[in-house]
């Protein structure tokens, strides 16, 4: 029996050693898989944005655009995210909503900008959406819902792309991804010297409000209050920092 165990162990260890060795090879780099992923995401994101462009009114309010651009820039620069492309867009829409598209597109509705009580709250929502982009949550969400076929098909426009767009703009991510985005957002905001409590405050406002909105991840998520509390707890753990007064 000892001989069997010994040989079995040797066999398992040999397989494990081969796997460990192979794992060290930069396969994804060699095969250009990372670049291909980014390329596909950008194509899908651009196609979806063109769909929005053709069906929605792009905001011309320079102040709103300036506020959103400025918040995104501060987060990007302070977190050294310059190697990722971001395209913030503001559209005139009465639904309180903001969502991220693949390829770095961030769409903010004017109703959201009007709804927030402070710019820190808006920065909180933006940071949360940017986290979905940097953590590649959108692709995960799309793959989970539609599979590879419709994701690549979305670049062709048409019904498939419309379905994908409706899904992205109106559905929450799963609990794990939302919490991950919350925590990442806190880090982004903290590094950008923006008070991260704005995100928790906005969550509380929206969960208490009766107004119709499309921010599914806040309004209908069963644990939104718990998440707001988690954000506060996380912020409490961070070293004390003097935050900038956002007054854009």
């Amino acid at each position: 029996m000892n001989k069997i165990l010994f040989r079995g162990l040797i066999l398992v260890l040999s397989i494990f050693a081969v796997y460990q060795g192979l794992k060290e090879v930069p396969w994804t780099k060699w095969f250009g898989i990372d670049e291909k992923y980014i390329e596909i995401e950008q194509e899908v994101g651009d196609a979806l944005w063109h769909l929005i462009e053709s069906s929605e009114t792009i905001s011309t309010d320079t102040q709103n655009i300036k506020v959103v651009d400025s918040i995104v820039n501060q987060i990007v620069i302070r977190n050294k995210l310059q190697n990722i492309r971001f395209f913030p867009h503001v559209i005139d829409n009465l639904q309180v909503n903001a969502f991220a598209l693949p390829g770095g597109h961030l769409v903010v509705h004017t109703a959201l900008i009007e709804k927030v009580e402070t710019q820190e709250q808006l920065a909180g929502v933006i940071a949360h959406e940017l986290s979905h982009i940097t953590e590649r949550h959108i692709s995960k969400k799309l793959l989970k819902e539609f599979g590879v076929a419709i994701l690549t098909g979305a670049t062709g426009g048409g019904e498939g792309a419309r379905k994908v767009l409706t899904f992205i703009s109106s559905r929450a991510y799963d609990r794990t991804l939302e919490s991950e985005a919350d925590m990442q957002a806190i880090e982004f905001l903290y590094n950008a010297q923006i008070n991260p409590l704005g995100l928790a405050q906005f969550m509380e406002i929206m969960s208490e409000s009766d107004l119709p909105n499309e921010l599914d991840w806040i309004s209908t998520h069963p644990s939104s209050e718990e998440r707001a509390q988690n954000i506060k707890n996380r912020v409490d753990e961070l070293p004390i920092k003097v935050y900038k007064d956002l007054n854009i």
């Binding site: 692709s139 599979g147 590879v148």
Partner: protein, 139 residues
């Protein structure tokens, strides 16, 4: 020699247990359990055969069982990447696929070799699996 000198019929039947797993590989690669089921059915059919035949059927079965575990993981990992979005193509995934392909190839050629030798009445004992087979198959 495992058991007494096998006759030609026994050699062919023992060799066929290896051939069975090779034949099923075409279907078994996309659906990993097919290999095992085919080999298991063959093993059941040989339960009352001579020790030589039972021993080699069991060795073929056990070696297929190890592949099932490895191939199943590759299968579900690929499924997660393609359809659930839970995983992305990573170095770990590619390394695992290459390792699994190498192990499958090794197993394939070892099985071919065993089938050909056993048909000639020559014993082939796989590392570890032969020891395991000794404990399971009694004279």
């Amino acid at each position: 020699m495992i058991g007494e000198n096998p006759n030609i019929s026994d050699c062919e039947r023992a060799s066929n247990s290896y051939i069975m797993s090779i034949v099923a590989i075409a279907i078994g690669l996309p659906i990993p359990i097919i290999n095992l089921v085919a080999t298991f059915i063959f093993f059941l059919a040989q339960r009352k055969a001579s020790y030589f035949v039972r021993w080699h059927s069991m060795q073929a079965l056990l070696s297929q069982l190890s592949l099932l575990i490895l191939n199943s993981r590759a299968w579900y990992w690929t499924y997660d990447i393609m359809f659930t979005g839970e995983e992305a193509v990573s170095n770990e995934y590619i390394a695992y696929l290459i390792a699994v392909v190498l192990i499958n190839l090794t197993e394939f050629f070892a099985t071919l070799y065993a089938a050909s030798k056993v048909r000639q009445g020559i014993d082939v004992r796989f590392w570890f699996f032969s020891d395991l087979t000794d404990t399971f198959v009694k004279k």
